[in-house]
Symmetry: C2
Subunit: 340 residues, 2 copies
């Protein structure tokens, strides 16, 4: 029941060496094997654990990295977090997770903590494209990687998915399945992910020519990437004089809201086509009839962590952006509209 701190000095005294030597034993410095052994024994006997705070202060860098995500309740981000963790696992670094809750104030506070705690690196899925300020971090040479979303003018490495291409493929798939009036529910205006996915959708419509591109803007809705937003947007669309016969939804959570709105209206997916950008968690199990653009969320995290580790190892190569490929996950029952 010791409540007093065991320091490197205590170990040094017990082993009959200097504190410097103890430090070297724990950090791979050159030490005579005999001495090293006696230090290790003394440390074990005293139950010594190095004080990470003191170490961080001296080294001007701690050994934990921060992962800042905007929504801890979105399985996309938790899967991404797993990727980061697994990559960090192979090093001696620990990952701590911070939930900004899509709130730029909370995010700023966490960025301050990361800076003030002298964290070894930061991976951030930015809450905002404009307000997220990575300057203080980069000024102090803290390695930073942006993941999923890219802050507008930050000079940092980034990892994203091919939003435009994914959106294009999604809408093309709906067209090919025989749907004609295809709506799009995308995220907030100004978010890179929203805009790019919508742009992909439009590209596909334009390419199809045959009258499909007609209604366009009346069928586009901006929502907030959350369940409620998706539900509200879908209700609006269903209330139109000529409702869409299919919808491309720009994220997983909004898709849940969309499905809910459809249920209210007594419609089910193969009847109205639904294509989700991002896997709808577990829905694949309870309702397998949903086609989605599959996002490599785990790999996104792993890649971001790898990039960060490179920078921490002192890589000075120019800033890079990695784009990961999405994949259309086709499920049989979206084959086409019911009344076709």
């Amino acid at each position: 029941m010791r409540t007093q701190l065991v320091t490197i000095h205590d170990v040094a005294r017990a082993a009959g060496v200097s504190p410097a030597t103890v430090s070297r034993v724990f950090n791979g410095g050159k030490v005579t094997p005999a001495r090293a052994l006696s230090v290790q024994e003394a440390a074990a006997a005293l139950g010594f654990a190095p004080n990470r705070v003191a170490r961080s202060l001296r080294k001007q860098r701690s050994s934990v990295i921060a992962l800042i995500i905007p929504d801890i309740e979105n399985p996309f981000f938790t899967s991404l977090a797993r990727g980061v963790e697994d990559a960090a696992q192979r090093t001696s670094l620990s990952v701590v997770l911070c939930n900004s809750d899509e709130d730029t104030d909370k995010e700023r506070r966490y960025l301050e903590v990361a800076l003030g705690e002298q964290m070894a690196g930061v991976i951030v899925a930015a809450a905002s494209q404009d307000e997220t300020d990575l300057g203080p971090l980069t000024d102090r040479r803290v390695p930073v990687v942006a993941v999923d979303r890219r802050p507008r003018d930050a000079e940092v490495d980034a990892v994203q998915v091919d939003n435009h291409h994914g959106g294009e493929v999604a809408t093309r798939h709906l067209l090919q399945a025989g749907y004609h009036r295809i709506a799009c529910i995308t995220g907030p205006e100004g978010a890179s992910t929203s805009e790019e996915r919508l742009a992909g959708h439009r590209t596909a419509l334009r390419a199809a020519q045959g009258g499909a591109a007609a209604a366009d803007d009346a069928y586009v809705r901006h929502a907030d990437f959350r369940v409620d937003g998706g539900r509200a947007a879908m209700r609006e669309l269903l209330a139109l004089p000529e409702p869409p016969d299919a919808v491309f939804v720009a994220n997983n959570l909004m898709t849940i809201g969309v499905l809910d709105a459809l249920r209210e209206a007594g419609r089910t997916p193969p009847d109205v086509g639904v294509l989700s950008f991002g896997d709808v968690p577990w829905a694949s199990l309870v309702r397998p009839s949903l086609t989605a653009v599959e996002l490599p969320s785990y790999e996104l995290g792993r890649t971001a962590a790898d990039l960060l580790l490179q920078r921490m190892d002192g890589s000075v190569s120019p800033v890079q952006t990695v784009v990961l490929r999405t994949k259309l996950q086709v499920r049989k029952s979206t084959a086409g509209p019911a009344r076709r």
Copy 2:
């Protein structure tokens, strides 16, 4: 583009005072208003931000608290995390999340980090009832609160749900709905949550007397609280000579596996009764016919945080355990077995 650290000394020099005074300005010590102002101006001009590491070293305590959870991909825990965050939000503390992944090694590492980083407090949903060792923390007087799961012999405050009662209510509900052969898929042996929920189930069966308690043990399965475990257990149960006509599943994720196994077998819920301990995320939207024991996950987190804050404020009241009430969330279509 300053890369050099601005210290309290720089501010002191700029303001023409001593470092001690600067410190006092930032920590609410007594300082003449005029001086305080000039210090604040100097700090702002220099872009000074206190070095949290140095502060932690000196104070022997940092201003972040750790929340260690066993599965970041389980919405139950992420919701709990939100509760913790929101409670901490009102103070100057920051919360960092650590995912132990149900792995006692990873968990131990995070506990070491929490200790080594001199965190102000720790909230932990233990990966194991026996192997999780909170001793080092409590020895050093770091406030600790156990949430959801309680490490066997740790002298710490705890917050849990009424597992026994919840399990009893669940199975009673199935009985009342007309099911007769009710199975139970619970968590790993030795976990407090598994055992208590199972015990509640048995209590309900015993009370029903009328032949229902007969088969009992043949209908009990221990799984791992994960989707795959639930699926496997349900497959086994379905393969029995006389399969159950209903099942009480001890957590949300396993319920998803159970539903999947049922789908494979061509059965759907009102036909075979399914009662989940813990809400199945979003399934309520895509398949509303599921009755569940609703867990106050968010409140669990908030209460744990409140308890922790009390201890951090120096409360010396004896160790307490708070038990939160569960609620049966009845949904119409589980009203009874189809063939009744």
